[in-house]
Assembly symmetry: none
Homo-oligomer: 225 residues x 2
DNA sequence: CGTCCACTCCCCCGTTCGGGTGAGAGTTGC
DNA sequence: GCAACTCTCACCCGAACGGGGGAGTGGACG
């Protein structure tokens, strides 16, 4: 049970090195990562694929201990590739690499079965820690990434541009989509239950629905939860 | 964010120590954490509350830089307390502490606005790192916790093995998520409204929810809408 | 200044919902 | 045959909900 950062212990072991597979289309980036991984004494970059298609061919044979997967790949995306690899070898951890920290990509990547999610600017030492972490059942991600993930639990989802709700109505709707009752919403917003009911009536009118369940359904189908 | 490890209690007024608030009902545990925090030269435990109610009174005045909150508290829970504190001071980071790594508690805690989530068996050094991390906008959590969080995204796309609904219950749920009332569902399935109610009761029990809106919310956050 | 609107809260009323309990028909499996 | 399960339906009851009013405050805008 170790956490992210500080790692000073250098394990010089006689054990066979951990086998890393790399999927990255950009030649210079790929070679750079490959060299970096091979520079770790306890790691071995057993294959460096240039595409998702090649990865699906090679990786099942290579049987790596961990896969480093770029998100953006020509043809099949790294996310789709991750899903397919996970279907074949659910136990092989896959860490996604990306230059972007955009929410939607992150969540899609995690849904596809990625175990960790790192930004490409991750420092070499942190990469090594992350690889060890993920092979140990962890879910390595940078603080930035983790914050996004945690934040996603907070907000039900985004706003709906098609209908203009007032800010108070918006807050009410979001709590509604978490399944709260009128009373619970009133408590969380420090309002009277009657005020919440007022807002709800307006929301129903604006959204053309007649019940909280319908409002939740419409809201969540328009804005992916 | 640089932190100079001074081992003695003599801190010259380079920088005021970080102010930590603690909420924990168990006396011995509370004092243990309090001592631990105070032992860090760059941290100061400015208040140690025995209950959520006290925390809501004291913490707004104490204005800590970070709050450590136990999940299980008599009376108002740590989760509810977190939500209320977050409503007052959204910018003050709150780290939840618990002995359990049960999914439901974790997600509820994160939804309530907690910024980090640590197990009580977290090592002192890791606690300090976590506190620094969360004040810097990070979302500290142990590898175990992070794995659960990531796993929850996976359930979102695939099947949910945790709950098995019968085929009739499944149909009912799907119509529920379209916002239909019991009567409308009954009509569409050519059933009595009482039968629909029966199915719904079973669904609620299996899904651990208490209302149709909550069922819709949970269902749609776990599956693509 | 007056109007509009968001926000807050209140009342009444009928309907819906959720929980508890029970029960008969059909199926599957031991 | 009996147990376990699903599917079906029923009744009761209290709580929650949705719709219809009204009403006061405060800010924005012309």
């Amino acid at each position: 049970m170790k956490t992210n950062p500080l790692n000073s212990s250098q394990q010089v072991a006689d054990k066979p090195p951990f086998r890393v597979a790399l999927v990255e289309d950009q030649p210079d980036t790929r070679e750079s990562w490959q060299r970096l991984i091979s520079s770790f004494p306890d790691f071995d970059c057993v294959c460096a694929c240039v595409s998702a298609e090649e990865a699906l061919q090679v990786i099942p044979q290579a049987k790596p201990d961990v896969v480093l997967m770029d998100v953006f790949l020509p043809g099949m995306s790294g996310i789709e590739c991750t899903a397919k690899l996970k279907a074949l070898h659910p136990q092989t951890p896959i860490v996604m690499l990306t230059a972007s920290d955009e929410d939607e990509i992150l969540f899609t990547a995690l849904e596809s079965g990625a175990d960790g999610y790192l930004l490409k600017r991750t420092k070499p030492a942190d990469l090594r820690v992350a690889l060890l972490d993920v092979m140990n059942g962890g879910a390595p991600m940078t603080s930035e990434i983790a914050r996004h993930v945690v934040a996603s639990f907070r907000r039900g989802s985004g706003l709906d541009p098609s209908i203009s709700l007032s800010s108070r109505e918006e807050e009410t709707l979001i709590l509604l989509t978490k399944g709260y009752s009128n009373k619970e919403i009133a408590d969380q917003l420090n309002l009277s239950i009657e005020t919440v009911r007022s807002h709800l009536k307006n929301i129903y009118t604006k959204m053309h629905v007649r019940s909280r369940a319908e409002a939740v359904a419409h809201y969540m189908t328009r804005r992916p939860g």
